[in-house]
């Protein structure tokens, strides 16, 4: 019982950051109708930017900011160069796969295959939560970062003009265009913000976990499950599904097997596809 409670709490904590890592993928799908297979690789690239910055300035805040800025710009650039003019969704998907492979091989070339981490950025001692559950300080910080960023993102999408424009494009891009919304600008914005948030999530994960150029595939798999479960395009759905997947992963790591926790996540994915493919917060698929 004690073990289960521990697992659930650590799952919720890691789930907070999974939501942030996945929300970019969900939003990009919402406005572009494209599954961005480069999302995982872009997160990993963000981790490397943070890592490289950390080596110079030895400050986690600055590293995170550098990763957000660099990846936001890169995301915008990638959209502008490769995705803006292409209207075929299957071909756009293939382009994002290409971007992922290029990033992965460049990272391998420049930074090498070794595992890297930002641990030491935050003191390693544990924090005791109410109820006597001990969690690493870095994980708590990561969860707080994830939660805060998701709330700000939600407010932005709900309350601001640019956020409303994005929601309009998610609903119906053609209709939004007819109402005078610059669809291409909304897509650019979402791609940049989604990539920047992914980089922030990546930096937070790197505080307590190691990464290498090939980490993108695992992150991408988790992000797919989270966004399909949450309903493609839904911010709130992504946040909640992130928590669920975090708990599923942590519980199966505790009670089943460290290596096979991904399989439990995958089983959830298949169950969602079979039972409710539109996700729990998405629109009905026609």
């Amino acid at each position: 019982m004690r073990l289960l409670l521990d697992a659930i709490v650590s799952g919720l904590i890691i789930g907070g950051i999974y939501g942030l890592a996945s929300v970019g993928l969900s939003m990009v799908f919402g406005v572009l109708r494209v599954v961005n297979f480069a999302h995982g690789a872009l997160i990993v690239l963000g981790m490397y930017v943070a890592w490289a910055t950390f080596k110079v300035v030895e400050n986690v805040m600055v590293s995170g900011l550098a990763a957000i800025l660099a990846m936001g710009l890169l995301g915008a650039l990638a959209y502008w160069l490769f995705l803006r003019r292409q209207s075929n969704e299957q071909l756009q998907l293939i382009t994002t796969l290409g971007i992922a492979l290029i990033i992965q091989s460049l990272l391998l070339l420049v930074a090498g295959p070794e595992n890297r981490t930002l641990t030491g950025g935050i003191s390693a001692d544990a924090v005791t939560l109410p109820g006597g559950i001990a969690v690493g300080r870095a994980r708590v910080v990561a969860a707080l970062v994830g939660g805060t960023a998701m709330v700000i993102l939600g407010l932005w999408v709900r309350r601001t003009t640019s956020g409303r424009a994005i929601r309009a494009v998610v609903d119906d891009a053609d209709m939004a265009r007819m109402c005078g919304i610059d669809v291409s600008r909304a897509q650019l914005l979402v791609f940049a913000v989604g990539t920047a948030l992914g980089a922030l999530a990546g930096t937070a994960i790197a505080l307590f976990d190691s990464f290498s150029p090939s980490s993108g595939t695992d992150l991408l798999l988790i992000a797919f499950v989270v966004v399909v479960m949450g309903g493609l395009g839904s911010v709130a759905g992504t946040a909640i599904a992130g928590l669920v997947i975090g708990v599923v992963e942590a519980v199966s790591q505790t009670f089943w097997s460290l290596e096979l926790a991904d399989v439990a996540v995958f089983v959830v994915f298949v169950a969602v596809l079979l039972l409710r493919p539109e996700g729990f917060f998405g629109e009905e698929i026609t």
Partner: protein, 339 residues
């Protein structure tokens, strides 16, 4: 005749002349007693056959599979595990692998073919990642991340699917290339081929006129998976070794996609020819790169090719080929419309 149709008419033959010329030049420069070349060629042929097999569901059916390595890996591991752990003949192992791959394909099809859109791409990708994870974790049985080696026999025969030279492997790989092309050709001419074309054009409309889209996609996927499993099984016997990343890795799945799409995913020969030409060129590049101490060049090249394919409405490979080809083939007679 519109300008676009004109391009279509010209595109086919010059590309073939070009390919043939390049092949002759390349073959002129290699030595056929070279065992290293035999090994390279058989591997390239196998991946090219995989691209052709992929095109049955990916090209004819228009369903983007990003996890075809699942079938390849299942074929490869079945043969090797049965041989090492239970001393089962590799040909029997191959058949077992094919049956397993068909079962997995059916499972994937049942889960996602009721849905349209991106779900097949996502599910196939997820299956490949999960198989790699499971095979890596079950190290007692599969050898884990280290992989499994096929023991060398002192005096192998055809029954052992093992040879003292590399050339019988080239022959086997060539046979599976031919078999994949023939299968594509037969499916294109069949009722199933027509159904797949209708589904690719407009799935709802196809269903409205009575096509059982779910079933047609499933049959195409199973055929494609069976061929891919044979290829995987041959691959593991050719290099006498298999490990999780070379069996289930994303790059392998993407090689199939890239070769098929560069060669023309709906064409009868295109994927295999593009697979052979590109496969050999990129292998040469990889070897050159590792001589210079640069690793991962081939992954970057595949990424670049994918981006180029994605931009294809501006950069059309067939058109580029036609432009280059028309310099060599001025005045060649034009055939009928190409597609």
């Amino acid at each position: 005749m519109s300008r676009l149709a004109g391009v279509g008419v010209r595109s086919k033959r010059p590309v073939m002349y070009c390919t043939a010329a390049a092949a002759v030049l390349y073959l002129g420069s290699v030595s056929f007693t070279d065992e290293y070349f035999a090994a390279t060629l058989s591997q390239v042929l196998l991946v090219a056959a995989g691209a052709q097999a992929w095109s049955i569901i990916g090209g004819l059916g228009g369903q983007l599979s990003l996890g075809h390595s699942v079938f390849f890996g299942v074929g490869a591991y079945s043969g090797v595990i049965l041989l090492i752990r239970y001393e089962v003949n590799p040909w029997v192992g191959m058949v077992t692998g094919v049956l397993l791959a068909c079962a997995i394909a059916t499972l994937i099809g049942l889960i996602v073919f009721g849905l349209r859109g991106v779900y097949f791409a996502l599910a196939s990708f997820a299956f490949a990642v999960v198989f790699e994870t499971v095979v890596t974790a079950a190290s007692d049985f599969t050898g884990g991340p280290v992989g499994l080696s096929v023991p060398l026999l002192p005096s192998p025969t055809w029954a052992d699917m093992q040879f003292t030279t590399g050339w019988p492997y080239v022959l086997l790989a060539g046979l599976i290339v031919v078999a994949s092309i023939t299968t594509t050709y037969l499916i294109k001419r069949s009722h199933l081929g027509l159904e797949l074309r209708a589904i690719k054009e407009n799935e709802l409309a196809a269903q409205a006129i009575g096509v059982n889209a779910r079933f047609a996609k499933l049959v195409a996927l199973v055929i494609s998976a069976a061929l891919t499993a044979i290829i995987g099984s041959l691959y593991s016997q050719t290099i006498l070794f298999i490990d999780p990343s070379s069996a289930f890795g994303l790059v392998l799945s993407l090689q199939f996609v890239i070769f098929a799409m560069v060669g023309g995913a709906e064409r009868t020969f295109g994927p295999a020819i593009a697979g052979i030409v590109l496969g050999l060129s990129i292998e040469e590049m990889r070897v050159w790169g590792s001589d210079q101490g640069i690793f991962g060049l081939e992954t970057a090249a595949y990424g670049l090719l994918l981006v180029l394919i994605g931009l294809r409405n501006r950069i059309d490979f067939a058109r580029i080929g036609a432009r280059i080809g028309s310099r060599f083939a001025v005045g060649s007679k034009v055939g009928g419309p190409s597609s």
